[in-house]
């Protein structure tokens, strides 16, 4: 497999020049190919023509707004994952965005780390293998059917919520998972707590899966979130 094959191709549809340029630059720095469209019509044309892994769509665009662009794309059978960026961050706006065919929704202002983590997850969702029944990271194994978690020869006892937390982390092993993503996907809450409530859950989980083992698997990624992976990059 060559590098070109695995390189992620993004289309950013955003009318604010400065934030668009910032995104293109930031994505190129992490090794992605990022194209740019500055209005809804141009974005639709490019999205239909190009083979992109993920579309990043601003909700309010000139000529054609983001939601109608996604609708048009989906009507034509284009299933490229879409991440909606919007200044409208409220719960009902989010629901509206997801209903119109978006796959994820990120309110502005966002952190690039959050955006990057979500794009990784979206692209993996598309190309990744079918849902497996067993997740493995190093010597940690999670059986989704029997709800058994083992590390090496030890069987670990997890609370149901800890199991779901670990399941989500392992499903996205090797990817950064942000606190917001955990709160949304494991707890199904879409507000941001004022406290480090997720960190406490993570540290509890960590004490169960990593404590007493030589190689830690659950890593904290500063300024972004968490990642479960075997070994150090």
């Amino acid at each position: 497999m060559t590098v070109a094959d695995t390189q992620m191709r993004l289309l950013i549809i955003e009318d604010d020049r400065e934030s668009a340029d910032y995104l293109v630059k930031a994505f190129r720095e992490v090794g992605y190919v990022a194209d740019l469209a500055s209005d809804g019509e141009e974005g639709l044309a490019l999205a239909e023509g190009g083979d992109y892994d993920v579309l990043v769509v601003d909700r309010m665009l000139p000529k054609r707004d983001g939601l109608s662009l996604i609708g048009a794309l989906r009507d034509k059978g284009n299933r490229t994952p879409v991440l909606i960026l919007s200044a409208l961050g409220q719960v009902d706006d989010r629901i509206k965005g997801l209903r119109s065919g978006g796959d994820d929704y990120l309110p502005k202002p966002y952190s690039f780390a959050e955006l990057l983590a979500r794009i990784e997850v979206l692209s993996r969702r598309r190309g990744g293998p079918a849902e497996e029944t067993t997740y493995r990271v190093g010597d940690l194994e999670l059986d989704r059917l029997s709800h058994r978690v083992t590390r090496g020869k030890d069987e670990l006892t997890l609370q149901p919520r800890e199991f779901r937390l670990l399941e989500y982390l392992m499903k996205h092993a090797g990817q950064v998972v942000t606190r917001t993503m955990l709160l949304e996907n494991v707890w199904d809450y879409h507000f941001d707590p004022q406290t480090n409530v997720i960190d406490v859950h993570i540290s509890r989980l960590r004490s169960k899966i990593d404590k007493g083992f030589e190689r830690p698997l659950l890593h904290t990624i500063r300024g972004a979130g968490y990642m479960i992976r075997d070994g150090i990059r």
């Binding site: 919520r161 707890w187 809450y189 707590p193 406490v200």
Partner: protein
């Protein structure tokens, strides 16, 4: 517009005019009817009298001849207020009676007629009018008997004059009353308009004058005053909020700026720059959170979030939040318990969860027992009890109560109302981190669902309760409908 023009344009004055016209018409027709009937009555009376006398005199002529006739006539003509009498020969010459002159041709035709006449004994030349009957006696003599119509004319005159005066009085009084009422109304409306203008110009403390009569204008003024009261309260709230926003957003912004400036001014190592930048990001994340919370509150308060309502169990929410915060509470040296009984609810699940989460976060942050207040002899168990936080969900009548109880210092009664306001951090908690929006959001969410946020004393500690009315009315309605169906079918 002139003052008179304004007066004439008032509803009160226009109504007066309509009534005035109707009353005048009524008065005129009443008097007209009266006059016409009186006239008919008088005429009838005259006819009856004349007919009777004609019969009588014809009779006398038949029995006693011409001589008897003339004697009787002369006799009767002399009585005071006598009728009119005239007897003529077949040649047309008058031989008896009290009539001096008649309109020509009256004696030529028999039957009833109205005529001008003059009495024999009268000196004036003015003609009078009379209703007369001419009868042909045997052998060509003719007899005229009649009665003066002056009475009828005078009565008619009186009635006509009465009509004129009454219509005049109605008009004058009506117009006067109309002007009076209209001016009264106008004065009060003008006073109201003046006040409203002042209020529109920015003086929100102005209130409409309210009289003591409790009439419709007073009630209107009272309602408008209540509305103004509310608007003023809202404006005050808004002003306070913007002042607080300015203060509470400017402070972190200033910190942010200072830090960036400081890092820039000091030529430091890469690590130093890094940490300065990281702190900058942290600070701006805090700002973003504050903004989000503010937007959320604004949305909840304006009722926009009503779209996402569904049915769920408050017990699930309590359990979910308990599950999420239990480890955090434990890390802070507290224990978080939940006591949830099924309490079905209709609302925005996300917002209610967030409101409850805010209450729990507050309890974890501020609900630690005041150590000074603890007697030294109190054992570890007492302390453990004090460090408990309880989340409770239950149904109480037609309300769902979601409460969080801690055993911290609580909030003094005087501060409770204040505590719910935006950005308020009570003095005790100033040193703690937080946006000061937690309780405001919880309160706004409760209001959105038609309920309220209550703060009570847990002796010691705080019980914060989201009281949300259940849609029992709606459900009872539904139940009634389902009961109705079989009845209708039967």
């Amino acid at each position: 517009m002139t003052a008179f023009g304004k007066l004439v344009r008032t509803t009160a004055f226009r109504l007066t005019l309509v009534y005035l016209f109707l009353f005048a018409l009524f008065a005129a027709s009443l008097l007209g009817y009266f006059a016409w009937n009186t006239r008919r009555l008088i005429t009838e009376q005259i006819t009856t009298t004349v007919n009777a006398e004609t019969g009588e005199i014809s009779d006398i002529f038949g029995r006693r001849g011409l001589r008897g006739l003339v004697l009787t006539i002369e006799n009767r003509a002399l009585r005071p207020g006598a009728n009119l009498y005239l007897v003529t020969t077949p040649a047309g010459q008058a031989i008896a009676g009290n009539v001096g002159s008649l309109a020509p041709g009256v004696m030529a035709t028999t039957g009833w007629s109205e005529t001008a006449y003059r009495r024999l004994d009268e000196q004036d030349t003015a003609d009078h009018h009379a209703l007369v009957r001419v009868t042909e006696l045997s052998s060509g003599f003719r007899l005229l008997i009649g009665r003066d119509l002056e009475e009828r004319r005078r009565l008619f005159g009186i009635v006509a004059k009465a009509a004129q005066w009454s219509v005049l009085i109605v008009v004058v009084l009506g117009l006067g009353g109309g002007v009076f009422v209209a001016r009264r109304v106008l004065r009060r409306i003008d006073a109201m308009t003046g006040t409203t203008r002042r209020i529109m110009a920015g003086d929100l403390s102005g209130r409409l004058p309210v009289g003591r009569s409790g009439d419709e204008l007073d009630r209107l003024a009272e309602n408008l005053n209540a509305m103004l009261e509310r608007i003023e309260a809202l404006m005050m709230g808004l002003k306070e909020v913007s002042d607080n926003i300015a203060h509470d957003l400017k402070t972190p912004l200033t910190r942010l700026r200072n830090r960036a400036e400081e890092a820039l001014a000091r030529s430091g190592t890469e690590a130093e720059y890094r940490s300065a930048l990281e702190r900058t990001i942290e600070e701006s994340d805090g700002l973003i959170r504050t903004f989000n919370a503010l937007l959320m509150i604004a949305r909840a308060e304006s009722g926009q979030a009503r779209g996402n309502m569904d049915d769920f169990d408050a017990a699930d929410v309590a359990q979910g939040i308990h599950e999420l915060y239990e480890p955090l509470a434990e890390d802070s040296g507290m224990t978080l318990h939940v006591k949830a009984r099924s309490a079905p609810l209709h609302g925005n699940r996300e917002l209610i969860s967030q409101a409850l989460a805010n209450l729990v976060e507050n309890a974890i942050k501020y609900g630690k027992p005041v150590s000074a207040a603890q007697p030294l002899s109190a054992g570890a168990t007492a302390d453990a009890n004090q460090r408990e936080i309880l989340i409770e969900a239950r149904r109480d009548g037609d309300q769902v109560l979601l409460s969080v109880t801690d055993h911290g210092p609580g909030i003094p009664v005087a501060d409770r109302k204040h505590a719910v306001e935006r950005f308020v951090r009570l003095e005790a908690s100033r040193t703690q981190a937080g946006s000061g929006l937690g309780l405001s959001l919880a309160s706004a969410v409760a209001t959105l669902h038609g309920g309220d946020l209550r703060l009570d004393d847990a002796r010691p500690g705080l019980i914060a309760t989201l009281a949300i009315p259940t849609p029992s009315g709606a459900r009872d309605g539904l139940a009634a409908q389902t009961h109705d169906v079989p009845q209708k079918a039967a």
